[in-house]
């Protein structure tokens, strides 16, 4: 039995300090940049993002790269419209000087981001930025970050998160990662590997070598670890994998196949299906004591369990009533009740990290739809319709859903897509090969 280490965070330390800067700016009438991300039909906010300045060539190159990542993050969110650099009038040369707001107002920029990159004496990178309200003519945020130079992309994502949070009031999701199943080879002989990448598709690397069939990776919300199903040794079972040390661990010895695992919000429990003859029922395993608790006991396929973020409830799918439907129960297995009542088969329920929605896959009339419903089953709506969409996962802030979409044809395969909670801003997530079963991480620590 292995001890559970909670000290595995050897990620980079990035310090963010808020700079309270007094910049003398003439007072203007009140302007309000408002992004209401709960509405489905927003106009993206025009924002000017000036290449972060630097003194040396190297600093300037870092500056351009960091800026490029911020532009891409904000644009992909669908909430911001970065303006063409070629249209910029003012040439910004000094970070500590207020911009000429008129030069930006004329471009209809509502927000302006300026920044500077400095390589410190100890070799670390310092990236600082200011967010300006062009109409109010004032600075509304200013933060500096320090990191190892190789982690410059994370710094850029953190700046994007800071801007997102300042302008929407919600936490961002850019400094996060996605684990998914990479698929190569012909359709009837697929090789599947677990792969991890930044949420924007960069820094991609393999987690498993492709020697065994692997499925349904899910993040530990509290540690750099995933749980997944593997057919290693010809025995399909649930495993844990530390994504830093690559240490793999079998989750318990059971008399049958274990599958569809997911962590509890505190990272201390795994819930999963255990196959027992013709039935699959749900079990919870405490990872410290290794004790197992049976949660459901029906002549049915009970699977795809997912905790509510407060750890008090579990949603899952079951065909106990004759077809796949979504159920909710208390964490001890009591009070099991069906919540999906629309037309079709409902599956793969995933509780939003905000607690307000459950995302699911629905099969109806030969189509596979990604949708969301309230946790009591009300308010169902479709986010993405099509021939075959499956397997939703939530962004850390509960505003974006990623899923995979199968492409038809003998040579077709799955790809990752994302869509806003509002059903807008559907985007393909580029991966080098076919990709399925995405799992979005919490914000990086």
């Amino acid at each position: 039995m292995l001890m559970r280490s909670r000290q595995g965070r050897h990620l980079i330390t990035i310090f963010a300090t808020v700079m309270l800067l007094v910049v003398s700016v003439p007072r203007a009438a009140f302007a309000a940049i408002e992004i209401d991300i709960t509405q489905g039909n927003i106009e993206p906010l025009p924002v000017a993002i000036y290449d972060f300045i630097g003194k040396t060539d190297k600093e300037q190159e870092f500056g351009r790269n960091v800026t490029q990542v911020i532009v891409a993050d904000l644009e992909r969110s669908g909430l911001f419209r970065p303006l063409e650099k070629a249209s910029f009038i003012e040439k910004i040369t000094r970070f500590n000087q207020a911009p000429r707001f008129g030069d930006w107002r004329i471009l209809n920029a509502q927000a302006l981001i300026t920044g500077q990159v400095t390589v410190q004496k100890d070799g670390r990178l310092k990236a600082e930025f200011r967010l300006w309200d062009v109409l109010a003519q004032k600075q509304v945020a200013g933060v500096q970050f320090f990191s190892d130079p190789e982690n410059w992309r994370r710094v850029a994502h953190q700046i994007s998160d800071t801007v997102y949070e300042r302008l929407t009031g919600e936490k961002g999701y850019f400094d996060s990662r996605v684990v998914f199943v990479e698929e190569t080879g012909p359709k009837d002989k697929r090789v599947k590997r677990l792969v991890i990448m930044d949420q924007d598709g960069f820094n991609i690397r393999n987690l498993t070598p492709g020697d065994s069939l692997v499925l349904t990776p899910r993040f530990n919300p509290k540690a750099p670890e995933i749980t997944y199903m593997s057919y290693a040794g010809g025995e399909p079972r649930v495993y844990l994998l530390n994504i830093e040390t690559r240490q793999r661990e079998l989750v318990g010895q059971f008399p049958g196949m274990t599958f569809a695992p997911r962590f509890s919000p505190d990272g201390q429990k795994i819930i999963m299906s255990l196959q027992n003859g013709v039935n699959a029922n749900l079990y919870a395993m405490d990872l410290r004591s290794r004790t197992t608790t049976r949660l459901t006991n029906t002549a049915a396929i009970d699977t795809a369990p997912s905790f509510s973020p407060d750890g008090q409830k579990i949603t899952f799918e079951s065909d106990r009533g004759g077809s796949q439907q979504i159920y909710v129960m208390n964490v001890d297995g009591s009070d099991q009740r069906r919540i999906s009542f629309g037309k079709g088969r409902y599956s793969t329920p995933v509780w939003s990290p905000r607690g307000d929605w459950i995302a699911f896959t629905k099969l109806a009339q030969g189509r596979f739809v990604i949708g969301v419903m309230r946790t009591d089953g009300s308010g169902e709506r479709v986010l993405s319709d099509g021939y075959h969409n499956e397997g939703p996962t939530w962004s850390p802030n509960g505003r974006v859903v990623m899923f995979f979409r199968e492409q038809r044809g003998e040579n077709g395969g799955p790809a990752l897509w994302s869509v806003d909670l509002t059903g807008r801003n559907e985007r393909k997530v580029d991966t080098p090969n076919f990709a399925s079963d995405p799992a979005w991480s919490p914000l990086n620590k």
Binding site: D36, G40, G386
Partner: protein, 170 residues
């Protein structure tokens, strides 16, 4: 003053939510059937007691309707033949693989195909084959044998396959 509005009240009260119904225009190009099912074509060339003999002369797989895991009459006939063959070669062990078509979600299909292999195993046991000789494994939709986008392929993938694994006479 820059300010973020997060309440669910709309800035655009007149605009109702637009649910993007992105109708994926599937290229409905069915690639035809590329199947390797060995059913039906009885060959006498296979040496008795071999894997080939089993798959060709007995029939190594049975099929299921959509979202169904109970055995069809045809399936039971095949399993009866398998049981007879297995009694003839009592040292042989088998793995019963359960499979599903691609038109289901991943986790459910794992459970569904486990039911198929479990039902096939139970039938073989009812025909007098020892459970000790039978292992089951569920592949869900992960191992299709036919890869087109219509029922002609899906019906071949909804299957239970009996693999002869140990102590085959040669």
């Amino acid at each position: 003053m820059m300010r973020a509005i997060l309440r669910s009240k709309s800035r655009f009260p007149g605009l109702s939510q637009i649910l993007a119904a992105v109708l994926m225009l599937g290229l409905a190009a069915c690639a035809g059937t590329t199947t390797r099912t060995a059913q039906g074509t009885a060959h006498s060339n296979a040496k008795p007691g071999t894997k080939e003999d089993f798959s060709v002369n007995v029939g190594d797989r049975i099929f299921f309707p959509t979202d169904v895991t109970s055995l069809t009459d045809t399936g039971k006939d095949t399993l009866r033949r398998q049981a007879v063959w297995l009694k003839t070669y009592p040292n042989v062990k088998i793995v019963v693989e359960g499979h599903a078509d691609e038109r289901g979600t991943r986790e459910y299909n794992i459970g569904l195909s486990a039911r198929r292999s479990a039902n096939a195993k139970a039938f073989l046991v009812s025909q007098g084959i020892s459970t000790a000789r039978i292992k089951t494994i569920s592949y869900g939709k992960e191992r299709p044998v036919a890869v087109c986008d219509d029922e002609t392929c899906w019906s071949q993938n909804r299957r239970s396959v009996t693999l002869v694994t140990g102590a085959v006479s040669s």
